[in-house]
Symmetry: C2
Subunit: 152 residues, 2 copies
DNA sequence: TATTGTTATACTCTATAACTATA
DNA sequence: TATAGTTATAGAGTATAACAATA
């Protein structure tokens, strides 16, 4: 006989995973229509309306590891959307920024993506948003504590 | 000047993504210690304590598309954890099931994984669980409606 | 004709670690 | 020594479509 696993947190995991998968599926379908992969869109969206940033900053914001980021940026450079510029202050560092073409694409697709995503929240009001954020934040804090306790 | 994007749902997206990423990072770190990739663990966990199921069912439950699933199962078969058996009723279909080795591994690592995950919920009580589930379910329903409206 | 699963293609991402060049 | 980023490896997952066997 299998042990009954009546863990009260299992429904939370199920719901979190399902909700996130629904969100991703809805978002990614639109991103792919735009001719980008999700990580490429992530980078583009992070660089939009900024003067650019180093690989390190970009890596921290997108949670893409530096090795992977090199490849993602390579493909965006190939598409002419992103540029790499040597930095004068610290010559180890590289400034990653949108090209004019990249900024133009961003200006076009980012609002379109927002409009697409707006539909996913059409059934909810601002009070719902507040409650959802509050509950998710509580959960995230709890996970964060566990991660700290696992490290040291 | 960039258009100000004061979309009230953006904080929800940010919080959902961050919370999910924290959850995944915490869960995957443990799964990889067990020598499995996340999709492989997903398949193993789905097959555990079942008599097995077809590729189609497995694909539906794990949300791994059938083409990808073939490769994931190949690697689990190579590890001796999963078997493929021809079905008599419908000879197009294949029964995917845990081998004895696979079931033994499942019996060993699934409780260990639950114990690991329990830590991530240590700061919360059953009322928190209910509230989080309720809010996530509301959000998921709204996303689901948008997906339906996009299709037809 | 429709369905189940495999194969084929071509990428894209991932983890990891070694390496280069600065600092 | 430490840091920023690239390169090198070796997988593994992804989307997509064509395909074989069966229903």
């Amino acid at each position: 006989m299998p042990t009954a696993t009546r863990e009260p947190f299992l429904p939370v995991i199920r719901e979190l995973v399902r909700t996130y998968q629904a969100f991703e599926s809805f978002s990614n379908a639109h991103v792919r229509e735009l001719g980008l992969t999700p990580p490429q869109f992530d980078v583009l969206a992070t660089l939009g309306n900024t003067p650019g940033m180093s690989c390190k900053e970009l890596s921290e914001q997108t949670l893409i590891t530096k090795g992977t980021l090199t490849g993602v940026i390579d493909r965006l450079v190939d598409k002419g959307l992103v540029s790499r510029t040597a930095q004068e202050e610290d010559r180890r560092s590289v400034l990653i920024a949108l090209t004019d073409t990249g900024q133009a694409l961003f200006d076009q697709i980012f609002p379109a993506h927002l409009a697409h995503m707006r539909q996913a929240f059409a059934g909810l009001d601002n009070d719902d948003f507040s409650r959802i954020c509050a509950e998710l934040a509580k959960l995230r804090r709890s996970i964060g504590l566990a991660m700290e306790n696992c490290k040291p």
